[in-house]
Point group: C2
Chain length 124, copies 2
């Protein structure tokens, strides 16, 4: 049987309220606002459960540390700022890219990542 704890709800809340994918460290400091004693082990433990239960998703992109996001967010893709190393969401999805697979290959999912500079880093 599973208990509802302050740490778990804080972590879930941070994840669903974020408007971009977060690193475990991001989550730790954001959720730490409501649960000051929060430990990293708990963040990782909780992310693992959320991922197993399909509520969160791990996002790995070259040049950035691992990020997590809520699966409740609509289908979207990513933008990695090569200056500040943050991941942002893109709206929309290039339909038709699934057709790029060779004969005999079965496509289940796809991912698109754009690399560049975010608006903050572009500005002087």
């Amino acid at each position: 049987m599973s208990y509802a704890t302050r740490q778990r709800s804080a972590i879930s809340r941070v994840l669903t309220q974020a408007n971009r994918p977060l690193t475990p460290a991001d989550i730790h400091s954001a959720a730490g606002a409501s649960v000051p004693s929060l430990g990293m082990a708990t963040v990782y433990r909780c992310l693992k459960e959320l991922t197993r239960d399909g509520a969160a998703r791990l996002i790995v992109v070259q040049g950035a540390p691992p990020h997590y996001e809520s699966t409740k967010r609509p289908h979207h893709h990513f933008f990695l700022c090569q200056q500040c190393r943050s991941l942002f969401d893109l709206v929309g999805c290039a339909s038709g890219i699934n057709q790029m697979a060779p004969q005999g290959f079965k496509v289940i999912d796809h991912e698109i990542v754009l690399y560049g500079s975010c608006d903050t880093c572009c500005a002087p």
Copy 2:
């Protein structure tokens, strides 16, 4: 001054002749055919130099270990078989996805990965 060694040419040859990205372990065993004593340290050292010199490129995709490929290969994207964890090349490129970036963001590059099963793993 830099020496031309059997190990270096074997590693370069393996990379340029491959028709898909390779892991350091793939490269070690393939190049090991011509240089049996080849060590992993040499593979990593050489990949680092090739990457620095722009002759090779690191490819990181979620669910697969790091892969390397020759930059001589034409622009393309990837297919990750979730069964055998191998990376394959896709031909073509969905042009226009660079337009997905928000206002004020500058796009420098992009990456597309399809996930699914390769022809070998699809077949019974």
